[in-house]
């Protein structure tokens, strides 16, 4: 039982506790820490890129290293920072919002995390073994298939392993939301964050297999002599582009949708109003998810698909702006007439609205295929996607962390420091990326190592770099806030924001079984309904009884470790057959752990009713 071990509180015991945990709240911590770590690495890479581009003819880093930097920055930020940070939020919040004691597959949940982490580590080991991947985060063939060294092999194996983890995590949330809702929590009473997590999980389920297939083909082309992408042997590189973007475009919605949900919850809480147009919000989320699969070729307008294909994809792309617009208006109407409290979470949310709208607008510009011939592969595109990803995803993560920090760690992040971190980041963000649209229109291509004197690009790039430093300062203040809060701030109450949804009806941090009694949900914003009727908490749906909990297990860690080892084997067997030993050892570990899991019954344990009464609300 994890509880007994945790009581000793030695460092070793704590590490062991986290390695074996199947508690979604602890897995959320793991995702947050590792996602945060990769976010800092990706940020460092971004700073190096910006320093290199600070002035014309700069030679801060070499051209080859620059290619590795941009590749690793993009790959790290999307797969190893944004995704896990979103999973951290989903793990911390979704089971609480639907009134569940746990997720549907706690074991798989832990497996998903460890696969992600080992995949990410594998990818980053490449820095120390003779060169990181350098074919861009999109890894287009033939640039990738002909790239020298093992960099791209690391990309393939690392993403394959961490992608499997993401897929597993997505399936877990899908089943959790379908099957584990508390009595009365119908679909149309789910909080928006739960809804968007649900749709995101569907997108993960359907989009990631395309990446898996693409990576497998790439793996065989690079490591086992096949020629799927080799034109001279009858292959076709365009297949990679399609597979990548069939995954890639849904992926950008996988990133933004959960944060749309978080913003909805935050804006409604801090406006003290029910979310405006709840059903329209749900509808727009579903529609975005659906349309997200119809538009991928807008990344390939200049490939030469022909005017018919280009037109179809241009129109479907522009259509996505409609549900997105519905959402923007609903947020505005939620605030309209509300009594708004400018907390740090709300500040990030309000800043998100205009920032993201600019990104959506440049998106529609890019969507007109004829015009895209001008924009494509210039800094205009870089401006566009940073407006949506930083202005949407990153702002959203900051907002959501401020909002749910008390639920995750039992303390409210210091508000003053929260505001102090916001301003440099916000100003820096617009300084960095707004000017990039114009650099792009002036002809500055993306992914070029440097530019010349006298191309009138120097001033814009300088401004951009200054902005990047401001963002770094904002991030550092946020980190300082975490430390400061941990040391100085008092314990938070169960409901510090006067919240509306179920997670605020239980203590911060919740006991490991979440709800002593499963709550009865009587409408949208269940906690708010009870408050309005003068009750203290949510009515329970069942008498106090024994609670069934899953056992901790080290197997997910071992399975992932096995694939990590096998990954090296696959990468280096090209050089020497002896490396197949690593494949055998790694796969042996993984398959052995799977066998153990299958053969050994693990039925979990019960917390007895008497113990629940005795211990009260705490742990």
């Amino acid at each position: 039982m994890s509880n007994a071990i945790a009581q000793q509180r030695g460092l070793g015991a704590m590490i062991w506790d986290y390695i074996t945990t199947v508690d979604h709240k602890k897995i959320a911590h793991l995702y947050l820490v590792s996602g945060g770590f990769f976010f800092l690495i990706g940020g460092l890479e971004a700073m190096i890129i910006r320093i290199q581009l600070m002035k014309p003819d700069n030679e801060f880093i070499s051209a080859g290293l620059y290619n590795e930097m941009i590749t690793m920055h993009g790959t790290t930020m999307i797969f190893l920072a944004a995704m896990p940070l979103i999973f951290a939020l989903m793990n911390a919040v979704v089971p609480l919002q639907i009134g569940a004691r746990d997720v549907a597959f706690p074991f798989l949940n832990s497996l998903g995390f460890w696969l992600f982490l080992f995949g990410g580590l594998l990818l980053n080991v490449s820095w120390f073994t003779g060169g990181a991947p350098d074919a861009g985060w999109t890894n287009y063939a033939p640039l990738s298939t002909t790239s020298a060294g093992h960099g791209v092999d690391y990309y393939v194996m690392g993403l394959q392993i961490s992608g499997a983890g993401t897929l597993i995590g997505g399936i877990n949330f899908l089943v959790t939301i379908i099957n584990m809702r508390a009595p009365g929590m119908t679909y149309m009473r789910m909080p928006l964050f739960t809804w968007t997590t649900f749709i995101t999980s569907v997108l993960i389920l359907f989009a990631f297999p395309a990446l898996t297939v693409g990576l497998f083909l790439m793996m065989f082309d690079r490591m086992f002599g096949s020629a799927f992408f080799d034109v001279t042997a009858g292959g076709n590189e365009i297949i990679w582009e399609h597979l990548f973007w069939i995954f890639g475009h849904p992926e950008v919605y996988i990133l933004i949708l959960p944060l749309f949900g978080a913003f909805s919850d935050i804006i409604s809480t801090f406006s003290k109003k029910r979310l405006f147009g709840y059903s329209a919000m749900v509808f727009a989320t579903v529609l975005i998810g659906f349309l997200g699969f119809m538009v991928w070729a807008h990344h390939m307008f200049t490939v030469g698909l022909g005017p018919i294909a280009n037109s179809i994809f241009a129109v479907s792309t522009m259509a996505i702006a409609v549900p997105t617009g519905i959402k923007i208006f609903n947020w505005l109407f939620t605030m309209w007439g509300g009594s708004i409290k400018m907390s740090a979470a709300m500040l990030w949310s309000i800043a998100f609205i205009p920032s993201f709208t600019i990104g959506g607008m440049t998106g529609v510009m890019l969507a007109s295929a004829a015009a895209d011939y001008q924009y494509h592969d210039t800094y205009f595109v870089v401006g566009h996607f940073h407006y949506v990803i930083v202005g949407g995803v990153v702002f959203g993560i900051f907002a959501a962390l401020h909002y749910w920090w008390p639920k995750m760690f039992g303390k409210v992040l210091n508000e003053k420091l929260g505001h102090l971190a916001f301003w440099p980041f916000f100003i820096g963000f617009h300084l960095t990326f707004f000017i990039q649209h114009f650099l792009g229109l002036m002809g500055m291509p993306r992914r070029y190592w440097t530019y010349f004197e006298g191309q009138s690009l120097a001033t814009g790039n300088m401004i951009s770099t200054v902005g990047a430093f401001l963002m770094a300062i904002g991030t550092l203040i946020f980190l300082y806030n975490i430390v400061y809060t941990a040391i100085k701030e008092p314990q938070a109450s169960a409901d510090p924001w006067d919240g509306r949804t179920l997670e605020w009806s239980i203590p911060s941090t919740p006991p490991f079984y979440n709800f002593k009694q499963t709550p009865l949900v009587r409408g949208l914003d269940p906690l708010w309904i009870e408050k309005m009727e003068g009750r203290k908490g949510v009515t329970p749906a069942e008498p106090l009884g024994d609670i069934h909990m899953p056992n901790a297990s080290v197997l997910p860690f071992l399975m992932s470790l096995g694939l990590f080892i096998a990954g090296f084997g696959f990468i280096y067997q090209v050089d020497h057959n002896a490396w197949f030993i690593a494949v055998a050892v790694g796969m042996g570990l993984t398959l052995g752990s799977m066998l153990t899991r299958s053969l050994k019954d693990d039925l979990g344990y019960h917390i007895h009713k008497e113990d629940l009464v005795e211990k009260g609300d705490g742990k």
Binding site: I246, M294, A297, G306
Partner: protein, 108 residues
């Protein structure tokens, strides 16, 4: 236990048996059909019938078999399977979209 509860539970068991029997018949029928389809498939290839005819028919037979498999053997015809059905059909839609793109844009 009283007589009364006994008789109702017996009644329930009867209904259950009847359902079970129906289910069994369905399964046997679909199983025979599937075997028949397989023979037809092999037969067509062995008899070297024109491939313009064989290919579409083979695909059609395969699809029907998958449907049998899902609905009769994996119980998708029973209640409570709307969500899995929806997920599967969305997945199939994505797959078809991919195939259409590949055939029309890449290989045409």
């Amino acid at each position: 236990m009283t007589d009364h509860t006994d008789s109702t539970s017996k009644h329930k068991i009867d209904i259950h048996k009847k359902e079970h029997k129906e289910e069994m018949i369905h399964q046997v029928i679909s199983f025979t059909l599937m075997i028949l389809f397989t023979f037809i498939a092999f037969g067509m290839v062995i008899l070297e019938i024109s491939s313009y005819f064989v290919k579409p028919v083979l695909i059609l037979l395969a699809v029907v078999q998958v449907v049998f498999q899902l609905y009769y053997f994996m119980h998708m015809k029973n209640k409570g399977h709307t969500m899995p059905a929806m997920m599967m059909f969305s997945g199939i839609a994505v797959a078809i979209l991919t195939i259409i793109t590949f055939t029309t844009i890449i290989w045409w």
